[in-house]
Structure formats: structure tokens, C-alpha cells
């Protein structure tokens, strides 16, 4: 995780360099590609990067990091926000930043360090006049360009934990499986509560954001996962990794399980809640969370599985997040046995 911050700092430095350089070469983001109706065939058509292979962003494309990130088979993620000239983001309490039409969110998934780093895919969320459009792009072997992968795809690779997996690039519909709420596509990550106050302040200073809202920076820093208090870490983890489906209007609304950070009803959070459609995902257990008994809790059973039909999340996971499981285990253990 320290890597993330270092990366961010490096990217910020590069951003300065690029902006300086931009006066000469002027790499420009294509507002037409973002706002148009089509699905550009290559990532390059958007012009989000001055140097795609090195992930050096173009002007007005700003890197960011999340306090508690979504885990995706241990991939490194490089996140960027593009805000068009003459517009800015607006804060909406501790929730999702409000993006102007024409804005975009870009996330690259990579494995490996330094010169060995391989870019796997870049996912873009484009804020068009009729709503958000989500598209996945797959990097070529030469790392020179990423091509539209509407139907997704699979790549065999080895995770940082040393596991050989078949990594799944989501198809366009699967993007919506996580990014869908009440039938529309929305961003998930950039909520003020999961962004650092420093970064938000810098965005305000640059004129890219209207204000730093109350409740910003409220989620714990995941780098403290091994030692920090279990409850906020577990609740942040479940909010970031699960709640995009497990909330009213989300893809798993029919389960009645609501894992959002702001939810405080014990039953809705799964405590002594019986499953409804878990199938063999129940693992012989009666409750999503059985206080004091992580090994009797469906929630942890499914987190600790990589088997389709049992594993949660259903998408974007081919291996088990041991760190996330450990935090949730600590949280359930702490709960008073009933």
C-alpha cells in the first residue's frame, strides 16, 4: 500500500513535469471521445495519457488514491480523474463527488514492480449527457495500446501472493453489475469519505473541486489493516468491496443485506440475518454473521472462497483476499456472542 502513495507522489511529480512539457507538446484529452455516443476502439483515442505505457497523465487528468481501496486479486491500481476545462467537481457531503458532464474516471490495473510492471487493463467511466458509460480496455503484449474489450476476456497471470489465476476483465454489462444503482451506471470509488483531506484540498486549490466537505477522509487508511481497530476497518472494507451490490437499488438488493458504511441496523448488516438465496454459498451456516463466531458466518465463508457459486464478490475475484478476511474475522470475533 505504501507503494500506492509513492506512486501517487511520483505521478504528481510527473504531472508537474508533463504540464510544463505540455506547453510544447500539448497532449490533450479528447472531449469528443468522452462525450460522443460511440465506443472508441482504443484507449489512445481519449488522450488521457501523455505516455500510456508509463501511465503519465495528460493535462487536467489528476491521479488519486483511496483510503480503503477495492481489492482485485492483488492488482495495483492507478486511478485518475479528468475534469474538462471550465468545469469542476462538486462535493456532496461525505458521499460521491458530483462530476460534470464531460468528466471521466480512469483506472488501470497492473501487476509487477518497476520495469517488470505489466498493464493488464484500463477501465473508463465516461460521464455523457445521458449518464455514465463504462468501458473496459485491454492492454496489448507490447504495452503500446489498449483495445476495447466489450465482451471482456481472461488472462492467465500470477498474483503478488504467488497464486496462478485466470484474471477476468469484465465485460461492459459486468461493469454495470457493480456500478449499477436503480438501473443507472454510477461511479463507486471517489466518495469524499474515502479520499484524503490533503488530496481534496489540492483539488480545491487547483479549482477542480468546489470545497472540502464535512465527513471527508472518514474511512480508515487500509495500510493500518493489521493493527488498527477492527470495526471501522471491517466496515470500510465491506462498504468498498461489497456495498455497491449489497444496498437498496444495488445488484444484490433482493438479499436484504446492506453493507454500506452508513448502515447501522444490525440485521441489515447481516448480524443474525438468515440467508435468502445463498445456495451452497451458505456453507452449512445459518447466519450471514454469527457474533463471536467467524467460522460460523456465511459472510466470511464466502469471502474466504474463490469458487464460483460460493465466492463473494461474484465478479473481479479469482483468489482470496487474506488481509480483508483477517480484518472481518477480527471484527466478528470481537462481537459479543449471543
Amino acid at each position: 500500500m505504501r507503494r500506492d502513495t509513492a506512486l501517487l507522489a511520483a505521478a504528481s511529480l510527473m504531472l508537474g513535469a508533463v504540464v510544463a512539457e505540455a506547453r510544447l507538446t500539448a497532449p490533450q484529452v479528447s472531449d469528443v471521445a468522452i462525450a460522443g455516443a460511440g465506443f472508441p476502439k482504443t484507449l489512445g483515442e481519449f488522450g488521457f495519457f501523455a505516455d500510456g505505457a508509463r501511465q503519465v497523465p495528460a493535462a487536467r487528468v489528476t491521479p488519486y488514491a483511496l483510503n480503503t481501496p477495492l481489492w482485485s486479486d492483488g492488482a495495483d491500481k492507478l486511478r485518475f480523474i479528468y475534469v474538462p476545462e471550465g468545469t469542476q467537481l462538486a462535493a456532496d457531503g461525505d458521499g460521491l463527488l458530483q462530476f460534470p458532464v464531460g468528466a471521466a474516471i480512469i483506472k488501470t490495473f497492473a501487476y509487477g514492480e518497476g520495469a517488470d510492471r505489466r498493464l493488464i487493463e484500463t477501465r473508463v467511466l465516461l460521464h455523457r449527457a445521458d449518464g455514465w458509460t463504462a468501458l473496459p480496455y485491454r492492454w496489448n503484449a507490447e504495452q503500446t495500446e489498449a483495445s476495447l474489450a466489450l465482451a471482456g476476456g481472461r488472462i492467465d497471470l500470477t498474483t503478488p501472493a504467488g497464486e496462478a489465476i485466470s484474471y477476468a476483465i469484465p465485460n461492459k454489462n459486468q461493469c454495470k453489475s457493480c456500478h449499477g444503482k436503480d438501473g443507472a451506471v454510477i461511479p463507486i470509488g471517489p466518495k469524499a469519505r474515502n479520499l484524503s483531506a490533503d488530496w481534496l484540498g489540492q483539488m480545491v486549490n487547483r479549482g477542480n473541486l468546489d470545497r472540502v466537505p464535512d465527513g471527508a477522509d472518514g474511512l480508515p487508511d487500509w495500510r493500518t489493516h493489521a493493527v488498527g481497530p477492527a470495526e471501522p476497518l471491517a466496515r470500510a472494507y465491506l462498504d468498498v468491496n461489497c456495498a455497491h451490490c449489497h444496498q437498496p437499488g444495488g445488484g444484490a438488493s433482493n438479499s436484504g443485506l446492506d453493507l454500506r458504511w452508513e448502515q447501522d441496523d444490525a440485521h441489515a448488516l447481516g448480524i443474525l440475518k438468515r440467508p435468502v438465496a445463498a445456495g451452497r454459498g451458505a456453507g452449512g451456516h445459518d447466519f450471514s454473521i454469527l457474533p463471536g463466531q467467524p467460522d460460523g458466518s456465511i459472510l466470511l465463508y464466502r469471502m474466504d472462497s474463490a469458487e464460483p457459486g460460493i465466492a463473494m464478490p461474484e465478479l473481479g475475484k479469482a483468489s482470496v483476499d487474506r488481509d480483508g478476511g483477517a480484518v472481518v474475522r477480527r471484527w466478528i470475533l470481537e462481537m459479543k456472542q449471543q
Binding site: 453489475s177 433482493n254 445456495g279 451458505a282 452449512g284
Partner: protein, 396 residues
């Protein structure tokens, strides 16, 4: 509503002229070709699956309104998920006015076909099967519409689901007819839903044939107005193979029709034969709950004009064998835990009651006796389920 009206108008006016058929063949790259077609389809288009076996590694999904996915027959066009590596179901539908017909889904890792928030959906002449037969490692639901209005499931075949073959949940306006459900834990299950007709189905060799359940703590509770009519519910004596923890894991083998909670369920004109626990069972939800909206008892249940064959000879619950012996070797065709309100069993049909007096009371406190039926004062009406005319027209 505006949006829906607009789409309906668009479909009505534009679809005949502009609708395209995209034909997909099995073979190399089927996953990508089929998924891409499902993504790029325009409203009104048809995706035609040629005869053949489509070997798939990931779940498929459809999110475009008004699309028809049509195969060359439930034994001809087979979507084979035996080597599936991801996703929670074989096919997921999240758009309205979709028709799925004439193809098969085999060995999905999770559910077979799920449609969520997908109104006006038709499942026609499909086969969803776990080909190894009843196994706890099979997926949960075969055909799984949830949170939808206007659902039609007909002429389909489902085998091997480790929960329910056909499961309709948290929906309303539902017709499930002329299906064959074989060797599932529950053949057909209507759960937390309103206005459903389950008619002319064959439910055989399941653990329980047809279940009508209402559970607490879900976004939609208060199920009812369900008709179970003209079904053949035969030989549902398969050992329960549902993974523990699921509500259907508590269904005794040998159950014909089971009603848990719900308001207004009519069970009429069915043939119930050789279900070894009980042909018709009414029970209250017996677990703790905190949902103030929830009503745990079956209320307004009518049982009339059914044909009861042999059955009730090996009740699959504690004390069941002794109980059957006390009744001369087999239980009468209707069994209630005694917690029902307003039960009408018409004709010369014997019912027994366990005479529980409180919801949640353990079965060990049962005091079984023949149910003395009070004179019928009135039976609650059940209006026929009417689907939009457009849905019936789509199949012509």
C-alpha cells in the same frame, strides 16, 4: 412509467421495421461473440443461437430492453457452463421486455438464469439442468426471476437445482405453467410474491413439489394471492440435498405442496400422488424475526377438488413414523401445524393438526389430532392473473 410507455411505443412502432437478427454459432470464441452480441443488440433485436454446444467460461448478461434470445430448441442449442470460472449465474438479465426461448443452460456454477428488476419477461421452452442429477454442489436456482413485475415461465424443464428449480421471488403478476421440474430440492417456489398462478406443471422426484413461502427481513414481504391448480405433484421423495443454512434445507422429503406464511392461497384441482410426508402442508415461519411488517402464519388457505393418491406413509420429521402409525399407517392428505388462520378444506378430505398454539413453538410440543373444520363462512376471492396482452402476443 413515462420511460416504460416511451419504450413500449418505440417497440411497437419501430421494432418491426428495424429489428435485426444476429445469428451466433457455437465453436471457437463463442463466449466473446455471444456476449458481444448481447451487449450490442438494439431494442427489438433477436439473438439467434444456432444448434450446437456453446462452451462458456463466464456468465453471460443482457441489459438491453426488448431483446429475444432464441435457440433451435431446448435440446439443440446448449449453453454449457461446465467449465465456468466466474459470475454468480449462467445468464443474467437486467432489462425489461426480454424473451428467452428454446435453448438450454447446463451445469451453471451458481444459478441457471437470473432476471432481476426485469419486468415483462418471458421464459419459454427452456431447459436448465445440472446433468449429474441431484447434488449439493449444484447451483441454487434454475430459473430465477426476482424483483420483477409480469413474469411468465412456461413449457420449460428444470432438473437438479440445489434450491428451487423455478424460483420466483419478490415479484408480482406471475404465471408459471406447463413446466416439468424434476429432481430439484423444491420443484417450484413462489417466495415473497403476490398474484401468482402455478398451473398445469409436473413436479416429480423433487424433495418438495411446490412451495409458497413468505420470509421476513427482505425488501418485499407480505406474499399472497397465489393459485396452485391443475398440477401433477407426484413422487416428491428425494432426500433433501440443499446446503444447510438455506430455508429449503428444512423441507421434509415427501412434501407435495407446502405453504409457509402468505395470505390467500388456493390449492385446487391438483393430482397429488405418493408424496411420503404430506400432500399439502401448512406451516408458520418458526424462526425468530424482528420485521414488524411480517405476518408468519398462513392465512386464508383453501384446499378444494384435488385428487389425492397414496402418500403420507413415511413422514420425514421427528416422530413422523409413530404419527403415521397412529393414523393407521399413513397421514391424511392435509397437515397443518395448527397456526393457520382461516383454512378451508372442502369436500371429504381429512386434515390433521399438530395443535401448536404459538408461532415458534417446537414440534416436540405437538399434540396431533384430526382437524375439526369450522363451518366455512367465506373464502377469499382470487382474481385471475392477467399479463399485459403484449406478452402473450410476443409468443405468437
Amino acid at each position: 412509467m413515462m420511460k416504460r410507455a416511451l419504450i413500449a411505443a418505440l417497440l411497437a412502432s419501430a421494432a418491426p421495421a428495424l429489428a435485426e437478427t444476429h445469428t451466433i454459432a457455437a465453436g471457437e470464441g463463442a463466449q466473446e461473440r455471444l456476449q458481444e452480441a448481447l451487449i450490442l443488440a438494439a431494442p427489438g433485436d433477436e439473438i439467434m443461437l444456432e444448434a450446437g454446444r456453446f462452451v462458456l467460461t463466464d456468465g453471460l448478461s443482457l441489459d438491453v430492453e426488448g431483446v429475444t434470445v432464441r435457440g433451435a430448441g431446448m435440446d439443440a442449442s446448449v449453453l454449457d457452463f461446465t467449465t465456468q470460472q466466474g459470475a454468480g449465474e449462467g445468464l443474467l438479465v437486467t432489462s425489461d421486455n426480454v424473451t428467452l426461448r428454446d435453448f438450454a443452460i447446463e451445469n451453471a456454477k451458481g444459478d441457471g438464469i437470473k432476471s432481476k428488476g426485469a419486468d415483462n419477461i418471458i421464459y419459454h421452452a427452456l431447459r436448465v439442468e445440472w446433468t449429474g442429477g441431484p447434488l449439493a454442489t449444484n447451483g441454487a436456482y434454475g430459473i430465477y426471476p426476482v424483483e420483477s413485475a409480469n413474469v411468465l415461465v412456461q413449457d420449460s424443464y428444470v432438473r437438479g437445482a440445489s434450491d428451487a428449480g423455478i424460483y420466483v421471488g419478490q415479484s408480482e403478476n406471475i404465471i408459471v405453467r406447463r413446466n416439468r421440474v424434476v429432481e430439484n430440492v423444491a420443484g417450484i417456489e413462489i417466495e415473497n410474491s403476490n398474484r401468482a398462478e402455478v398451473t398445469e406443471n409436473l413436479a416429480t422426484r423433487n424433495t418438495g413439489g411446490i412451495l409458497v413461502f413468505d420470509l421476513p427481513g427482505l425488501p418485499k414481504v407480505g406474499g399472497g394471492d397465489v393459485l396452485i391448480a391443475r398440477n401433477a405433484v407426484i413422487d416428491n421423495n428425494t432426500d433433501n440435498f440443499a446446503p444447510e443454512g438455506n430455508i429449503v434445507a428444512s423441507v421434509p422429503a415427501g412434501t407435495g405442496v407446502m405453504v409457509m406464511a402468505n395470505d390467500n392461497v388456493h390449492i385446487t384441482d391438483n393430482a397429488l400422488i405418493n408424496n411420503a410426508t404430506s400432500h399439502v402442508m401448512l406451516i408458520a415461519y418458526s424462526q425468530d424475526y424482528t420485521d414488524a411488517r411480517y405476518q408468519p402464519r398462513p392465512v386464508n388457505v383453501m384446499v378444494r377438488d384435488n385428487v389425492f393418491g397414496s402418500g403420507g406413509s413415511a413422514p420425514d420429521f421427528e416422530g413422523g413414523t409413530m404419527l403415521a402409525q397412529a393414523f393407521g399407517g399413513s397421514l391424511p392428505p392435509v397437515l397443518t401445524d395448527g397456526l393457520h388462520e382461516k383454512l378451508a378444506v372442502m369436500g371429504k378430505v381429512t386434515a390433521i393438526t399438530l395443535n401448536l398454539s404459538e408461532v415458534g413453538q417446537p414440534l416436540t410440543e405437538a399434540r396431533p389430532s384430526i382437524l375439526q373444520m369450522p363451518p366455512i363462512v367465506s373464502v377469499k376471492d382470487l382474481a385471475p392473473v392477467a399479463l399485459p396482452a403484449e406478452m402473450e402476443a410476443r409468443l405468437r
